[in-house]
């Protein structure tokens, strides 16, 4: 597994992070160490074994499609600094 600047930059971009040069350097070293050690799980025989997305059995539950009480528009917007006409105001999308 080659961990280099190109890979770290690509991953960071996908995660919407801009790393400083220092962070880039540090994370390359860290990831090399971590992935090197974590490759140990390759040795576990998991042939025919399905992944456990949960540790205990969870049944799907649906409720009736009824209108229930929810936050008011004012409450929903209480924590934002960017709002306009009762809506969230975001950065430019296009």
């Amino acid at each position: 597994m080659k961990v280099d600047k190109e890979l770290i930059r690509n991953v960071a971009e996908l995660a919407r992070l801009k790393l400083t040069d220092e962070e880039e350097k540090k994370f390359i070293e860290d990831l090399k160490e971590i992935l090197g050690a974590f490759s140990a799980i390759d040795k576990v025989d998991t042939k025919g074994i399905e992944g456990a997305f949960h540790s205990v059995e969870i049944k799907d539950r649906l409720r009736d499609d009824l209108v229930e009480e929810s936050l008011s528009q004012e409450e929903a917007l209480e924590n934002t600094e960017h709002k306009k006409d009762g809506y969230f105001k975001g950065p430019k999308a296009v």
């Binding site: 919407r16 992070l17 962070e23 456990a52 949960h54 540790s55 209480e78 924590n79 600094e81 969230f88």
Partner: protein
């Protein structure tokens, strides 16, 4: 004083709840200046609740001071999970556990300090601008993590108190061990997580931390049980946990995890083995058991899964609806990137990078999916053990609470490896509890009990019998 005894006195009118709450708030402010156990002290809300309880002290937790890990939403009280990116966020609703505590007359005194979003085993990976909590027995040492503030205040408080922590890979039992208190991480799905700022959805659990096993049992009765707001919450009846305190453990069979003592500090091993030897006198049997997959492969399995889930969970923190905002300029990618890069701490960034990588096209099968399959094997290993044993036991953490100066010398991988004993039961969703079993010098040692799914009863029964 145990919470149970305190509540009786409140109900009898022997203690003035408003006066008591006022004193507690003063005291935690004072402790906080020195030890940094709280990110927020909710004085106004606490006194308002105390006034209500004074009029009607009938609740199961009447007048009891309760603190919550900062990752748990409390209406109107700043909730940040210890991250600057959420600075200023005041939830418009209570988490289900908060609602249940308040309904029973519990008094929310504040939000406890933690590793940012729960990303740590020492409470040293603090968000930007937050101070590390200091160990109640030695201020040069760590409280453990990630629910470090909850552990610290549970030990340091000389008033009756219960804290609610949260565990993803060991974040309840680890700080409970380092701070010398009980800490119970329930079965996955036993306690609703509605209103918890997620770290890793398939692993997160909320549970109590306190000085006495009786108080752990009491709090579990209040917070456990079905919640229609949380799709993973189990629809199963809640046990009478407090009744377990008086039931002895004769006839129980306990497995001592063999591999868990490899590399353990000599003082930790001595205290834990000493306590295990007491089991026989209490009428329980014990013998060694081997859990090779959980102990050997738990760390990579846990970190690949938890960071994968965390990287998607943290995507919502982008300076839009709550928390830190910046000036709206440029396009949305540039804006989100700017806010996240400015306000997330180092370990949060590192785990986002690791988790994003592990789920990326081309690597997903080798890392994320492989870890999920190993997790199945680990669960099977435990389930097999519980065919033979009522509970398993081992040290909670291999080391004594370390000095901050020694933590500074550890690599990132060293940090991750601290969780080697706690990630197993967390990956398998098994209830587990730290039992404070003694001291090595002036530092506390913790022993971990693990039980089968939804068998919190056994943990409380054994823990309370071992530490009277």
């Amino acid at each position: 004083m145990k919470a149970v005894d305190f509540i009786t006195q409140i109900r009898n009118g022997d203690i003035d709840v408003v006066e008591h709450t006022r004193k507690v708030i003063e005291q935690i402010k004072k402790i906080n200046k020195e030890y940094h156990y709280f990110n927020a002290v909710s004085e106004k809300e606490a006194l308002e609740q105390a006034e209500k309880v004074a009029k009607n002290p009938s609740g199961k937790l009447a007048g009891l001071p309760v603190s919550f890990k900062d990752a748990i939403c409390v209406k109107g009280v700043e909730t940040t999970a210890g991250s600057r990116i959420l600075k200023g966020y005041r939830p418009t609703f209570d988490a289900t556990v908060v609602e249940r505590v308040k309904k029973e007359g519990g008094i929310v005194i504040g939000k406890t300090s933690q590793d940012e979003f729960g990303f740590g085993a020492f409470s040293v990976n603090m968000g930007i601008g937050y101070e590390k909590p200091l160990n109640p027995f030695d201020k040069e040492r760590a409280c453990g993590g990630s629910s470090g503030g909850s552990g610290g205040i549970s030990q340091k408080a000389d008033f009756p108190h219960i804290s609610l922590g949260e565990s993803t890979g060991g974040s309840i039992v680890n700080p409970a061990s380092f701070c010398g208190v009980f800490g119970l991480c329930p079965t996955y799905g036993r306690v609703s997580r509605y209103g918890l700022l997620d770290y890793s959805n398939s692993l997160d659990k909320i549970g109590p931390m306190a000085k006495y096993a009786d108080d752990i049992a009491l709090m579990m009765e209040v917070i456990a049980g079905f919640d229609e707001n949380e799709s993973t919450c189990a629809d199963k009846p809640v046990d009478d946990y407090t009744k377990q305190i008086d039931i002895d453990i004769s006839g129980m069979k306990i497995g001592v995890i063999k591999e868990a003592f490899n590399g353990a500090d000599a003082g930790v091993e001595k205290a834990v083995r000493g306590k295990i030897a007491e089991l026989e006198g209490l009428g329980a049997e014990y013998e060694e058991i081997s859990l090779p997959t959980a102990i050997k492969f738990g760390i990579p399995t846990y970190y690949l899964i938890s960071t994968s889930e965390a990287s998607t969970n943290l995507a919502k923190y982008c300076g839009m609806r709550y928390g830190k905002h910046e000036k709206l300029e440029e396009g949305f990618n540039e804006y989100f990137t700017k806010v996240r890069s400015m306000h997330l701490g180092q370990e949060a960034k590192r785990r986002i990078i690791l988790g994003t990588f592990a789920r990326m096209a081309g690597y997903r099968d080798a890392y994320y999916m492989k870890a999920m399959a190993v997790r199945t094997k680990i669960i099977q290993e435990y389930k097999k053990a519980f065919k033979e044993f009522d509970a398993l036991v081992c040290p909670t953490v291999s080391m004594l609470p370390p000095k901050f100066t020694d933590i500074d010398k550890l690599s990132v991988l060293d940090h991750y490896n601290i969780d080697n004993l706690t990630v197993g039961p967390n990956l398998a969703g098994l209830p587990h509890m730290n039992v404070p079993v003694g001291f090595e010098g002036k530092l506390p040692v913790g022993m971990m009990l693990i039980a089968n799914h939804f068998d919190e009863n056994s943990l409380i029964r054994i823990g309370s019998d071992l530490v009277k």
